[in-house]
Symmetry: C2
Subunit: 89 residues, 2 copies
Amino acid sequence: MAVYCIVVYDVDVSRVDRVHKFLRQYLFWIQNSVFEGELTAQEFREVVRGLKSIIDESKDSVVIYVLRDASLIKRSIIGQDKNRFSRII
Amino acid sequence: MAVYCIVVYDVDVSRVDRVHKFLRQYLFWIQNSVFEGELTAQEFREVVRGLKSIIDESKDSVVIYVLRDASLIKRSIIGQDKNRFSRII
């Protein structure tokens, strides 16, 4: 059982690199502070736990949009497609 | 006929304010460079046209995720909820 996630984050610049490196272990980088991809329930828990250990929850913000399936969402890109992955799904 | 949109943008700092001000006429600000909300087909076209006129398509990137309905997506927030709107949907 997996879900499709879009993760957007707004964290202090001192923690941006750690968040980026952590998320790319699980998800595909889309743009700036946006990642997406499929996660199993176990991976989802790992991502939440990992993010909580990296960010300062009193200052930073991460929003995880969770969908049952990637097919429920359509992606329109204006300007540059910063991620090649988005062309193949 | 309306759709639910999540708009994420990665644009040069010189254009960030204009993009922000433009999008808040149509959508709710969620975080940093993320907006979301319902758009009619007409509004969707206006948003795309407006963004194209503001950004530099050879450098900037805007991704619009389009869903049939807001109920298809679940939102998990870690840390700060920077937008009060997200608590009421």
